[in-house]
């Protein structure tokens, strides 16, 4: 491979990895830290994309549309936690699977009733529409580079909040042992609602920010759910750092797999997961 194209493929891999991290980041919070098996993660992603499509059209501004969509998504997460998830903490994982699977059906159907079944597109915001010339016939959209930057920011912010702030300490304490945390004066009820709402908002945010380079269509969340779990599991359940490195590894493996071993590209990611789990059964950076 020509060195220029090799470097471009590295860029592609890193950029895809960062996007994967963003897509999986909400799941890191809800599944990784809270321990709720949230199959509806993809549905939240889908909700974000459709909301930003609708609001951006209403306000004629992507940024305003995203703000409105973010608020609504967080509120949706909060309501779902308060009314549904809250009864599940003390119950088996299987109950969580059934409930969150039900949420997928309900949210997909609501989407169809509210917005219809057509495929939609969200235009890239004007300010970042340009592209950089890489080779004589290949350019790289500025929006994609910006996306990579935002994903990095989200990763750093999540890491700092969870590892370095009092709030993060509460979250970790409550994840480790809910009863003890409550006895120590942490308001576990509000904390859970907050973390779930943040996780939902992050999943929806990923859908929003990916909407301009993707397309918006019914059931779009169903395709990201598996890869999101792969990222969280490879990284080690509950570890932001692990999810970040896991996502980058998957992005690079997938990109080079497609170029060098196209016949095997569809399962290369899962082979990587199997290899990581054989080597470290709890993932790269599992919580002790």
């Amino acid at each position: 491979m020509d060195p220029t194209f090799f470097l471009i493929q590295v860029l592609n891999g890193l950029q895809y990895g960062l996007l994967l991290f963003l897509i999986a980041s909400g799941l890191t919070l809800i599944f990784g830290i809270m321990g709720v098996i949230n199959l509806a993660h993809g549905a939240f992603y889908m909700v974000g994309a459709w909301l930003v499509w609708w609001f951006a059209g209403q306000f004629d501004s992507f940024l305003l549309g995203m703000l409105a969509a973010l608020v609504l998504a967080a509120a949706l997460g909060w309501v779902i936690e308060r009314t549904l998830i809250t009864v599940l903490y003390e119950r088996e994982h299987l109950d969580q699977v059934v409930l969150t699977y039900g949420l997928i059906l309900v949210l997909n159907e609501l989407q169809r009733i509210l917005f219809g079944t057509d495929v939609q597109g969200v235009p890239v915001p004007e300010q970042v529409q340009g592209s950089l010339r890489l080779t004589e016939n290949l350019t790289y959209p500025v929006y994609r580079l910006m996306l990579a930057g935002i994903c990095l920011l989200v990763a750093v912010a999540m890491y700092l909040v969870i590892q370095r702030t009092r709030l993060g300490m509460w979250i970790r304490a409550s994840a480790a042992n809910r009863e003890v945390a409550a006895t120590l004066g942490i308001n576990v009820r509000s904390l859970n609602a907050l973390v779930f709402a943040a996780g939902t908002a992050l999943a929806a945010f990923a859908g929003m920010i990916a909407a301009p380079i993707s397309s918006v269509y019914p059931g779009m969340g169903d395709s990201i759910i598996v890869i999101s779990f792969v990222v969280v599991v490879i990284g080690g359940i509950g570890s932001v750092k692990g999810a970040f490195l896991g996502a980058l590894a998957i992005g690079l493996a997938d990109t080079f797999g497609r170029v060098l071993l196209p016949e095997f590209s569809s399962f290369l990611v899962y082979a990587l997961m199997a290899a990581v789990l054989l080597w470290r059964p709890t993932g790269l950076f599992a919580r002790a």
Binding site: F5, G121, L138, S214, D254
Partner: protein, 399 residues
């Protein structure tokens, strides 16, 4: 008059309840009390949920429009329509088809969009010798190796719209072409059609790229295309993937240096979402909303009036499915027990479709003109006819 009835399944029942809870009536779900004996029963097994729901709806609309044009009855027989959501799930295809064939005793089975599901239906229709019309799924074997006298197709084979693009590409002076599609039946058959025509003329396929279905991340492949510097790229994508591919292709700056060619589904029902990125993309298909013929203008106007939107290619295919059935019914004065005569008449049918004149091949797949279209100002403008009265070669069909 024709009536709609929906076969309830557990999931549909949940959906209907949900819709009621929100104070919305489930569209078209009007359960009938008992079926009158004199009615002809048609089972529409189509996707009414999921990714292909819009296609299922368009086909149903087209079928309903054709019925309405003839006063709700075909050849003097009232029609009762039974709808079943196939969920685009091949695993349930045979059992769902049998619910209509054995449970509802339909006289005609119409379906579907997803090729895997359609093949399951073909199997069920063959086993029970039920008359069947395929209004979309392009899987070659349905009117190829699996062809049967009771199975018709009013849509296309995946080969059909792609093959003429091979000639178009060569005639435009392209000699080295990269092809790209999802690794699944429809994509492989379409690329096969293009390749057959293009290499027959002396063109060279530089590389065939396949991405796993339904993956829509292809930055790596676009980079590879840039490094290969072909004269043009031929692709088969549809729906959300088509929107994303056309946008990514333009954003990568490839559109200006390497022309993008495709089977028409690349730019059908997706142009509003693709925006400027689709301008100039060349596709071949058996229809365009822009066709300037009296038949199409009248069809579009009627569809617009009834459903409040423009008819797409799927609506036309559904419309022609009803028209083909009407030819069969008319030939026997509505007496469906004279099945062989009905089939004979349908085989010989010549329909004045909104897409132009169509007839049927020995394998009972539609024979039709394939148009060359270019995206101009957000529309699929018809540039010319890429192939006249093109019939699928139907490999493996012994009939």
């Amino acid at each position: 008059m024709y009536r709609f009835k929906t076969v309830m399944k557990r999931r549909t029942a949940v959906k209907a309840t949900l819709a009621f809870g929100l104070g919305l009536a489930a569209a078209g779900a009007l359960p009938s009390a008992s079926s009158a004996a004199e009615q002809v029963k048609v089972g529409l097994m189509l996707p009414y949920s999921g990714t292909y729901a819009a296609l299922g709806e368009a086909i149903t609309n087209g079928f309903a429009l054709a019925l309405e044009e003839s006063g709700g009855a075909l050849a003097g027989r009232d029609i009762e329509i039974v709808r079943l959501d196939d969920e685009s799930d091949p695993g349930k295809a045979v059992s769902n088809a049998n619910r209509l064939i054995k449970g509802e005793n339909v006289d005609l089975l119409v379906g579907t969009v997803h090729s895997g599901v359609a093949m399951g239906m073909v199997k069920a229709a063959r086993d029970s010798n039920t008359l069947m019309i395929i209004p979309n799924a392009g899987a070659g074997p349905a009117t190829g190796a699996m062809c049967a006298p009771n199975i018709f197709r009013t849509s296309f084979t995946n080969w059909q719209p792609a093959y003429p693009m091979g000639d178009v590409a060569y005639d435009r002076g392209y000699r080295n072409v990269v092809t790209m599609t999802w690794k699944y039946g429809a994509g492989e058959e379409a690329v096969g059609g293009f390749k057959e025509a293009f290499t027959k003329r002396g063109g060279n396929i530089v590389k065939e790229i396949y991405v796993p279905f339904p993956n829509v991340e292809w930055q790596a492949e676009l980079t590879e295309i840039a490094s290969l510097k072909p004269d043009a790229v031929f692709v088969f994508f549809a729906g959300g993937g088509a929107v994303k591919f056309v946008k990514d292709y333009a954003a990568a700056g490839l559109k200006d240096s390497v022309p993008l060619l495709g089977s028409g589904f690349l730019t059908d029902g997706t142009l509003h979402a693709q925006g400027d990125a689709a301008e100039g993309v060349l596709t071949t298909l058996h229809y365009s909303e822009e066709l300037d013929t009296p038949q199409n203008t009248a069809f579009q106007a009627a569809y617009q009036q009834k459903f409040g939107k423009a008819a797409d290619v799927y609506a036309v295919q559904g419309y022609d499915a009803a028209k083909l059935f009407e030819v069969g019914l008319a030939a026997v004065d509505g007496d469906i027990s004279r099945r062989d005569e009905m089939i004979e008449a349908m085989r010989a049918a010549k329909l004045d479709s909104p897409r132009g004149e169509i007839s049927f091949s020995k394998a009972q797949n539609v024979v039709q003109d394939i148009y060359l279209r270019e995206v101009r100002n957000g529309k699929n403008a018809v540039v010319g006819v890429a192939a006249e009265a093109l019939a699928d070669p139907a490999p493996g069909c012994r009939m």
